[in-house]
Point group: C2
Chain length 138, copies 2
DNA sequence: CAGGTGTATATAAAGATTATATACACCATT
DNA sequence: AATGGTGTATATAATCTTTATATACACCTG
């Protein structure tokens, strides 16, 4: 039989002491592993119970993490079968981020409009802010 | 003696049943009244106790509302004296909104960058989203 | 039908938010 | 300095949200 690869090695450690909730740590770990291509589409993720035992968390916590990953289109679940990496899980992850970004832009636009700026002034503010923000990144 | 004008008439009704916390309803009411020029700079707001009694809320709730308004630069408080509309409370209100908008733009930019978009693509997304958002407004 | 998979419901523990009462400190006026 | 107004500070309670759990259920494959 093939040697079982540790999931902890793949998605990193998970601990109540670490910042952020447990389920979020699991989500982040898989999201990164999948977006970096370390988990190929169609591959099965560990079962709820297997992962829960390995990470020393409850089954429900794993469920919640997988639900979040499915919500983002990164994996899909099949009752009685298992949970699998989606065909274009990396693209789905990207799309989710884009959607969030778009919503934030819209929200900012409405706020700026309330402050009394006209459309072109808002465009200018956005453009300038984007430029500054991205140049700050090291 | 001059007739006392009801504050409730000025800032609108306040109720635990209404959406949002009580203190926020008070903040919104005064912010709007001031930004619309219905309360002139230098004018005294009702005292903590007077407003608390009229709105049937606790003194602490009024305090919290006034603190928020002061944080935004819309009013200022003087111990032993009272709370007053700031000289340019309307401008301060506007600036607060602009600051929020700028932060949202920055956050959106970072999110889009994480999704893999380059700077000009992000500029384009922002521009398009702003255009759409503002044209939706009736 | 046996043994795996995911699912659903009810519950508990922890934390943040909201609202309160009570006692205190400051200021202007008398 | 006494009085009666103003804002201030601390400790507390009630509520809601988030996070995590246990237990029992439903589905699928062999």
């Amino acid at each position: 039989m093939p040697e079982e690869k540790s999931t902890a090695l793949l998605i990193g450690p998970v601990s109540p002491a670490a910042p952020g909730p447990l389920y979020q740590q699991i989500v982040d770990g898989f999201r990164r592993a999948i977006s970096e291509g370390r988990l190929e589409p169609g591959l099965a993720l560990p079962s709820f119970r297997a992962l829960a035992e390995e990470l020393m968390v409850s089954l429900i916590t794993v469920k919640r993490a997988y639900e979040e990953l499915e919500r983002e289109g990164i994996v899909y679940r099949r009752q009685g079968i298992g949970t699998f990496v989606a065909e274009q899980g990396d693209a789905a992850s990207r799309d989710a981020k884009l959607k969030t970004a778009t919503e934030l832009f819209a929200k900012a636009a409405r706020e700026a409009a309330e402050a009394g700026l006209n459309t072109s002034e808002i465009q200018e503010l956005a453009s300038e802010t984007i430029r500054k923000t991205l140049s700050d990144q090291t």
